[in-house]
Amino acid sequence: MTEMTYRQALHDTLRAEMLRDDAVVLLGEEIGIFEGSYKITAGMLTEFGDQRVIDTPIAEEGFTGAAVGMAMLGLRPVVEIMTLNFTLLAIDQIVNHGAKIFGMFGGQTSVPMVIRTPGGGGQQLAATHSQNLEVWYAHVPGLKVVAPSNPADAKALLTASIRDDDPVLFLENLSLYNTKGEVPDGEQVGEIGRAAIAREGSDITVISYSRATLIALEVARQFESEGVSVEVVDLRSLRPLDRETVCASVRKTTRAVVLEDDWLTYGVGAEIAATIQEGAFDRLDAPVRRVAAAEVPLPYAKPLENAALPTAQDLTKVVGEVLDATRFTR
């Protein structure tokens, strides 16, 4: 085990995969000389050269589409898109081509590519630079979407994503890069599609992913001092979705709250609530609740942005309401 940041875990994993397999190539804006907007590709250009670390012109659809083409030839491109917001410029290549070529070409060629991109608000980057659009991609059969919340999962899932034969959207988060955690040494290949019980508990389940998992864990710790045992499920993968782990947890605790950074309507929480409805309804003591972002384009002003994003305070309040509604005594 080594303690390291999420950023370092991504960097080390990318490098390890580059060393292991010559087919892995990196493409994106500012990833070479500048070493990436978030320094994930630090040192890569020097070590691997410009045939494998490609600084591209500013044209997201261009380099994403080129990566689809490279992947069809057997390369394993890892594309960095500066923010999830800019995947919108490339969405046709991702959704109509990356996700569908395997099926529409009768299984003749798969598209083993990874799109790494950070989502999330909270950095005062305003409405077009702060979105959580992961459900757009999680909605699409043919794509996989992973969203690790800690350095160990970042390592294991990035390794798995690069080795996966299908296109994977690998969701990072601006506010996770500097967070630290213990990371197992040596090769770690995670399983895409498996949620984690990030914290065991018996009274209520909070389901979350990516940055929001850290908030869920913080709130769980606070409730512990009040004698409430909160279980935290970290989805890790939004597609495929591990419905079994979610339902098993809720069947045990009988109460569920989803914490998500995206907008409420049609968000990740809507899918989780439906999953619980189908798989744990008979055990529920209260309706599933969701804590999500305000349904507005994210404001630039700091106090407004803070108020629009879900916080630990919001989650604490809703968890408390569910407990009170079910006459849980604390």
């Binding site: 020097t46 600084d55 500013i58 044209a59 349904e295 630039y300 002003a301």
Partner: protein
């Protein structure tokens, strides 16, 4: 907005990372280029010493300069100085934590003032995120720019009041908006009527990096096919964050215009007279129904990409020094002195005006109040909606709940 993007790019997060191959300075294989040479076609009327010259394909533009009176020449200088001061103030305020981000225009004053001053009142500008100088010329109060970068208002100014659209941070998008707006101008019958107060042109601004984007290239196709009254103004400041021209294109933007079916002109972007003349000519053509023009202003980004960037990581200081010699303000000042158009009292007066403006901006910025929380719901839809009303009410109740200690 704060992109790193401005934020134009997302906030540069330079957290420590250890890599066995981390390099600190310019990457290997990146030669020191002569990025100061705009080539023989570049239109130039003032050389680096402020001497009046006629270089490049300058013939069509000479007559426009003949018409410039001393008063106009002095006011161009005044704009250059005040714009640089506003920019310096924006930079300083961001450094002091008063603004979320600031993309500096340092070095690009002549390109922006030349273009902005060539526009008629009714001409409409679609800026990127660095066009503070054009904003100034179009009459947008500097405090409104600062308010937007401070994040205290959504839409720092009324675009229609000054015919200056809001900043666009996602690279290239505004080129299409400008083209569509110009197609609207055509449909309003405000092109080629011969009435100078009616005929309207549109200007679209982007950078060298923006020319790779799909939206940019599609906009050029549309404008060409529609013969729209739009002038595309590319400030080639040699860098797109850390990526130099070589990583963006092999044929410079002005030469590519021909392939789209309209003229392209490269102009010395540090020569305010040349930029003014070339832009005025292109706008006149557009207004009179002669279709689009692409102008590439050859200039240099003297500062960082934005306040979240550190350019010493990817470019050599020798390059910056070379461009400092071509400073647009120094050049215009030498010209005015050389021609006896302005005396020392004039220059002192402008400096004093700049000091006063800076002080005014500074206090104005610091005194801007934060917006009220419920206002975030006010501009989601043009028409108010019960669902939004309910969400607003819930937010108010929620926060009131905490205040009461519930």
């Amino acid at each position: 907005m704060s992109d790193q993007d401005v934020a134009p790019v997302p906030e540069r997060d330079l957290g420590e990372i250890s890599s066995p191959h981390h390099h600190e300075t310019v990457a290997p294989g990146v030669p020191v280029r002569d990025v100061t040479d705009g080539g023989p076609e570049m239109v130039q009327f003032l050389d680096a010493d402020g001497k009046r010259v006629s270089r490049g394909n300058c013939e069509p533009y000479e007559p426009i300069l003949e018409g410039l009176d001393p008063e106009t020449m002095r006011s161009l200088y005044r704009d250059l100085v005040l714009v640089r001061r506003v920019d310096a103030e924006g930079h300083a305020l961001q450094r002091q934590g008063e603004l979320g981000l600031w993309p500096s225009l340092l070095g690009q004053e002549a390109a922006q003032v030349g273009a902005g001053r060539a526009m008629s009142t009714q001409d409409y500008a679609f800026p990127g995120y660095r066009e503070h100088g054009v904003a100034w010329c179009k009459g947008v109060p500097p405090l409104n720019l600062l308010g937007m970068f401070r994040g205290v208002n959504h839409g720092g100014w009324d675009s229609n009041a000054n015919n200056f659209h809001l900043y666009t941070i996602v690279i290239g998008n505004q080129m299409l908006h400008a083209t569509g707006y110009a197609m609207g101008v055509q449909r309003d019958g405000a092109v080629g009527t011969g009435d100078p107060s009616r005929d309207t042109a549109v200007m679209a601004f982007t950078g060298d990096g923006g020319t790779a984007q799909g939206d940019y290239n599609e906009a050029l196709v549309f404008a060409s096919v529609a013969h729209a009254p739009v002038v595309f103004f590319v400030q080639n400041n040699q860098w797109a964050i850390s990526e130099p021209n070589e990583r963006q294109f092999r044929v410079p933007p002005y030469q590519r215009a021909k392939g789209f079916g309209f003229p392209g002109v490269r102009v010395d972007g540090n020569d305010v007279l040349a930029v003014y003349a070339v832009t005025k000519h292109a706008l006149d053509e557009a207004r009179s129904g002669q279709g689009p023009t692409l102008i590439e202003a050859f200039t240099y980004r003297m500062g960082a990409h934005t306040t979240s960037d550190d350019p010493t990581k990817y470019r050599v200081s020798a390059e910056v020094d070379l461009w400092r010699e071509k400073d647009p303000i120094k050049r215009m000042r030498s010209h005015l002195e050389r021609e006896g158009i302005a005396d020392p009292a004039f220059f002192d007066g402008i400096d004093a005006e700049a000091d006063a403006l800076a002080a005014e901006i500074r206090t104005g910025c610091q005194n801007m109040p934060d917006p009220e929380l419920p206002t975030m719901f006010d501009k989601v839809y043009a028409e108010q909606h019960p669902v939004i009303d309910r969400e607003r009410a819930e937010l108010i109740a929620y926060h009131a709940g905490f205040e009461e200690g519930n």
